[in-house]
């Protein structure tokens, strides 16, 4: 097979490593839409995962009986390779965004759930005793003491979940033509155009680093006390 690199510049015709003119020409029709789709896929997955994990974590924290099965399920989901999970879901939910989100959400659950439960359990016994002794109700203790004290662990989990979701979301292109995985697959399947692969891959890395940076900043602003000591 003789690869065709189109009718672009000399760089494009010779499949150069970094063709600036290609990037300029295709930012608008390829890279930028892929980036925005990637952000959307990841954001929905992390938000839904966070909501589900929060509900499960509150249940698992309050009722020890719930914790073991939920933890085991999250563990199990996490061990399924992402490609395999996509394949398993396609017969059920088709080649849809739903399939992608179910898989992405599944991967966020373990780290979010575990960190939330550990964060809530990690509240020191003397702090809880003081809260009880001062006449805080159960709900007040949860909202004013346990939740804020669990925040560092929750945010740490959120960072890991976000970064790994952004990374796994590139594989979504196996199912739907969306996200930064799409230009990579196109290039891999058609012509191994290096600039496109590097640019899309680079954007995925940059997106992950940016998201991580934003969350680190949020951590410092929301829990200034956790960095003391």
């Amino acid at each position: 097979m003789i690869p065709s690199f189109g009718q672009g510049s000399a760089c494009e015709r010779t499949n150069g490593w970094w063709c600036t003119d290609w990037l300029r020409d295709h930012w608008g029709d390829t890279l930028q839409p892929a980036l925005l789709q990637h952000v959307e896929l990841s954001l929905i997955a992390v938000a839904v995962g966070f909501a589900i994990a929060s509900a499960l974590a509150i249940a698992g924290f309050r009722f020890r009986l719930v914790d073991a099965p939920v933890g085991a399920l999250a563990d199990f989901l996490y061990t399924i390779p992402s490609l395999a999970l996509f394949q398993l879901l396609v017969p059920l939910t088709g080649l849809t965004e739903t399939t992608v989100e179910i898989a992405l959400v599944s991967y966020t659950l373990l780290v979010l759930y575990r960190n939330m439960v550990e964060g809530l359990r990690g509240v020191p016994a003397d702090v809880l005793e003081a809260a009880r002794g001062m006449g805080l109700t159960r709900v007040q203790t949860f909202v004013r003491v346990e939740l804020p004290l669990a925040a560092p662990a929750v945010l740490a989990g959120l960072r890991i979940a976000t970064v790994s979701t952004i990374s796994i979301a590139t594989v979504a292109a196996f199912v739907i033509p969306k996200g930064l995985g799409e230009p990579i697959f196109v290039a891999l399947n058609q012509n191994l155009f290096k600039t496109e692969i590097l640019a899309a891959g680079g954007l995925a890395v940059a997106l992950a680093l940016t998201a991580d940076g934003v969350l680190v900043l949020a951590q410092r602003l929301l829990t200034p006390w956790s960095r003391l000591r």
């Binding site: 003397d126 005793e129 003081a130 009880r132 006449g135 004013r144 004290l149 006390w225 956790s226």
Partner: protein, 317 residues
């Protein structure tokens, strides 16, 4: 109007844990008069902390009753009861995610005080417990020393001006020098505030120093003796109490009085005699005499002016 101090009555208060042969607290009956410090002391297993926690119902009574100013704790709503009692524990239990100010403001906030009133109260309390109102109020607990944390713990417990304070080995985890200072300051505070205080310790010296009355609990949560420090040292009720207060109880009794309590002799201001401040306890004064090999010392006031003399026999009389 809420009273400044409340009378606390234990009436046959008993805690029996299921499956244990002996009760943790066994028919404890004693009355703490309003405004006094009652120290619960005894060996571990004596149930002193359990007895304390019965009062704010962190541990539920099995039988008997506890009354605060005549009202049974069982007749009060749990949250109301606890918000009306200051509670200080050994590990302090400050909220790490809140500043000193927010920690102290906890109960006033729950009680719905206005911002202005809370702010004023916090500043007043910081001053009272010897912290810097401007600087320390914005700090987080992790930025404070152990002694400073316990000052904040005390301020937090005092915030809503409760008539009753429960203190569970509050100075137990603090090094001896700072502990002695906190004890002094606590006594000064108490002279000012006049709360009813129940104070748990395993340290008999701390009990003697702080208590208006001491309740000695023995294994099985039984009250061995409830009396003033002087009477417990002079007339231990039984062998257990005598052993618990120690063979040096005569010496300990000397810590209860200072040189200021003696009728001083007019001095023949001999040079070379040790000069000892009037606020010194008789025990420390005796130590000076023994160390320096003298029979007599000169008592001086805060300014160092001689007030009179005292002999060794005066100290021991």
């Amino acid at each position: 109007m809420r009273s400044q101090a409340a009378e606390l009555v234990f009436d046959e208060a008993t805690k029996q844990y299921p499956g244990r042969p002996e009760p943790a607290v066994d028919r404890l009956s004693l009355t703490v008069p309003a405004g006094e410090i009652c120290v619960l002391v005894g060996p571990s297993g004596g149930g002193k902390t359990t007895a304390l926690k019965l009062v704010n119902r962190l541990i539920p009574l099995s039988s008997g009753d506890i009354r605060i100013d005549g009202t049974s704790i069982l007749d009060l709503d749990l949250v109301t009861l606890r918000r009306g009692i200051g509670y200080v524990i050994q590990q302090v239990g400050l909220f790490p995610h809140m500043t000193v100010e927010e920690n102290i403001a906890t109960v006033p906030r729950l009680l719905g005080w206005s911002r202005q009133r809370i702010r004023e109260r916090v500043l007043e309390l910081l001053e009272l417990v010897g912290l810097d109102p401007d600087h320390d109020r914005r700090r987080y607990p992790a930025q404070l020393s152990g002694g400073q944390q316990q000052r904040v713990g005390l301020a937090r417990a005092l915030a809503a001006n409760p008539p009753l304070m429960l203190m569970d080995e509050p100075f137990g985890a603090i090094d001896p020098i700072v502990r002695a200072r906190l004890q002094e300051e606590f006594l000064r505070l108490q002279r000012e505030l006049g709360k009813t205080v129940v104070f748990v310790t395993h340290d008999i010296d701390e009990a003697i120093k702080l208590g208006d009355r001491i309740a000695i609990l023995r294994e099985g949560g039984r009250l061995a003796q409830y009396d003033t420090p002087a009477r417990i040292l002079a007339e231990p009720a039984d062998e257990f109490v005598a052993q618990f207060v120690g063979a040096d109880r005569a010496l300990k009794a000397l810590t209860l009085r200072t040189l200021g309590d003696l009728d001083l002799r007019p001095g023949t201001w001999l040079p070379g005699l040790p000069r000892v401040p009037v606020a010194t306890t008789l025990r420390d004064a005796l130590a000076v005499l023994v160390a320096e090999g003298h029979e007599r010392l000169i008592v001086v006031d805060e300014a160092g002016e001689p007030l009179g003399t005292a002999t060794r026999d005066d100290l021991l009389a």
